[in-house]
Amino acid sequence: MAITSIKNLKEFSTNNDRFEGAHTLCPGCAHSMIVRELMNCTDDNLVIASNTGCLEVSTAVYPFTSWDTSWIHIGFENAATAVTAAQVMHKVRKKKGNLKDNDAPVKFVAFGGDGSTFDIGFQWLSGAMERQHDFTYICLDNENYANTGGQRSSATPVGATTSTSVAGTHSYGKKEKKKDIVAIMAAHGSPYVAQLAPNKWKSMAKGFQKALETEGPCFINTVSPCCTEWKFDPKDTVGLADLATDSLMFPIYEIVNGHELNILYRPKNPIPVEEYMAAQGRYKHLFKPEYRHIIDQVQADVDKTWEMLQRREEARI
């Protein structure tokens, strides 16, 4: 695999680009940044599958397509299955020697939002991971069903208001904790899982390259700040991602072979989660005195997770 070593953002932005700028994602959406990082980090041929979601509906509206590579979308839940079956077909046709270019390296990648990854497509993803296919699954985690108007997902964090976990006089919003998808995927015996963020673009590109290079099923959860549903100014997307990683709401780390945990970004002075929350409309209600304890609870959970990650990194088990 021809991995390009990328030194700066300018170089990165002019790299091989198979994802066209013309799409209908919201201005300020981080999805396109993440997708471009993936597609620019390799020169190999790519077969991409997308679950139904923001990315899919915004990039392939007939008679247009934003994808200058092979791309398939079936339903809400089955991108992992589609792309891994295509990978099996590639194996068979390569063996039989009937591919157009039999020796060209090909990588297989599936994209899903958190709705399709954590919820409706969870079984399909789990099955594809268990079958040990050689592919990479990338979750574009914006913590809600943004494509259908901002309903809760099992990735929505405690305290966020969504259209189906509405904050009001009798509710502080979502009450259930976010599913730990990275740990669940590591528990499938995946050789490489990671959580990455587009503001940390070098570690993201490196993580993507690692996943594509690693044989077997790899999983990456990416933070994708959603200006529309998190309610912030579209120009602040990268700033929001900075707050997410610096507050450790989204710790950046990888787990190799299920046990070797490496923290990829260690903020010198972590900022309080309160600052991250204050920058978004979806947490606005938490700043009323009666819900103050929810912010404290989220901070305590973040501290505990950070402690756990550091200990696991040290223990190597």
Binding site: N45, A49, S70, W71, I72, I74, H90, V92, L99
Partner: protein
């Protein structure tokens, strides 16, 4: 190279084994499957052929039937030959993705071993699952015995992959009665069978990177209608290709298939229209009634349920006085689905015969020769009286008080 599989001129195979041999001979590249009774042996056998080197394909066991068909779509879009099998609840779970497969014009072959839909849970054969797929945009072939399950599976690949068609095909056989009953089957040699099916020539191949393709785009009110109309037209136009493929198959096998099969219809006064194994039972009943009572009884069977052969059904039944359409599926508060299609065909006829509906055989309840004779005799009574003498819809082989619904205004 795959290992040589020794075949006798005459084999004793059940329907499942026959279908799996067709997959081997067609050199299917990828089977993505989830097991369900009674279709399980088809994919198990394919897996065993892979495991023993009889085929150079790959067998992928996934975690559900929805994933099985999703995988078939991904593999088919990647340009190779793809097949799977299912039944009943598994078929129901696949339904969402069946529409995607046909909408993307992917030539997948699905062997459906027909079985009842729960509740109550039932593993035996009826046609509830087949009817569930009738609007999914797939071509649907019906096999009445193991030989036909084999023959039609081979024909299915050739039809599906024809560039004038490019649509997925289901091959139906009855659960247990066909799938698990060993019968004489005359297979083709591997060479003759493969040459008949031919190499797959992919269209819009996801693995041809010189020409990137986008599968599964979105269309709203601006284009959706045109896409679906075009898909329907492709399905209707496949009739000609199916006829061609059946004619070619006759040349290599001596076995002739038609989209509508007719038996003893030349002078028939009454007829039974059926699907699946019912056809053979009805044929015996018709022959016996002709001998015993002089009733001019005939049978019309649907080989190709989709695209529905409306013109051929009408022509086959033109001039018959009273027709019984048999539905092996719970009608769910209406006339049987198959009845409605045949009745619609007869509404376009000159003779406008009487058309009645018999619900039978749900959950694997046996339909006997005697049951078929009773149905024919009802039709004879209608023919003699000049009007339908019973409720239009009746239940055959049902315990308890006689059930009947819907009346005629004629007579």
């Amino acid at each position: 190279m795959a290992e040589k599989f020794d075949l006798n001129e005459r084999e004793v195979w059940d329907g499942n084994y026959a279908a799996s041999q067709a997959l081997r001979q067609a050199d299917v590249d990828v089977v993505v499957a989830y097991p369900i009774t009674p279709s399980t042996p088809i994919v198990e056998n394919y897996g065993a052929y892979v495991g023993n080197g009889y085929i150079n394909g790959e067998f992928v066991m996934v975690e559900s039937e929805h994933a099985a068909m999703s995988g078939c779509i991904g593999a088919s879009a990647a340009g190779g030959r793809v097949s799977t099998a299912t039944s009943s609840q598994g078929f129901a779970l696949m339904v969402e993705v069946l529409y995607q497969a046909s909408g993307m014009r992917l030539p997948i072959v699905l062997n459906v071993v027909n079985r009842a839909l729960a509740a109550p849970l039932n593993v035996r054969g009826d046609h509830a699952d087949m009817y569930l797929g009738r609007d999914s945009g797939w071509i649907q072939f019906g096999a009445f015995n193991a030989q036909e399950a084999y023959d039609l599976a081979l024909c299915a690949f050739k039809v599906a992959e024809d560039h004038r068609v490019r649509l997925p095909v289901m091959v139906h056989q009855d659960g247990f009665i066909t799938s698990h009953t060993a019968q004489n089957v005359y297979p083709l040699s591997d060479e003759v069978a493969y040459n008949f099916v031919g190499d797959i020539v992919p269209v819009d191949d996801m693995l041809d990177f010189s020409r990137p393709v986008t599968y599964g785009a979105q269309t709203e009110e601006d284009w959706h209608f045109e896409h679906k109309a075009k898909q329907h037209k492709a399905l209707m136009d496949s009739r000609e290709v199916i006829d061609e493929v059946f004619a070619e198959f006759e040349k290599i096998s001596g076995r002739k298939y038609n989209r509508v099969e007719t038996y003893d219809m030349e002078d028939a006064e009454v007829a039974l229209v059926g699907l699946g194994t019912t056809v053979e039972t009805a044929r015996v009943a018709a022959k016996e009634l002709r001998k015993e009572k002089g009733i001019k009884a005939g049978v019309v069977a649907i080989r190709c349920f989709r695209p529905f052969p409306l013109d051929e059904v009408r022509d086959a039944l033109e001039g018959v006085k009273s027709i019984a359409v048999t539905d092996r599926s719970s009608p769910g508060g209406a006339m049987g689905a198959f009845y409605n299609e045949v009745a619609a065909a007869m509404a376009t006829s000159k003779s406008r015969p009487m058309v009645t509906n018999y619900i039978y055989g749900l959950g694997g309840r046996d339909l006997s020769i005697e049951n078929c004779k009773e149905i024919f005799q009802d039709q004879k009574a209608n023919a003699d009286a000049g009007h339908i003498t019973t409720d239009i819809q009746q239940f055959t082989g049902l315990r308890g008080p006689k059930l009947g619904f819907f009346k005629t205004a004629r007579g």
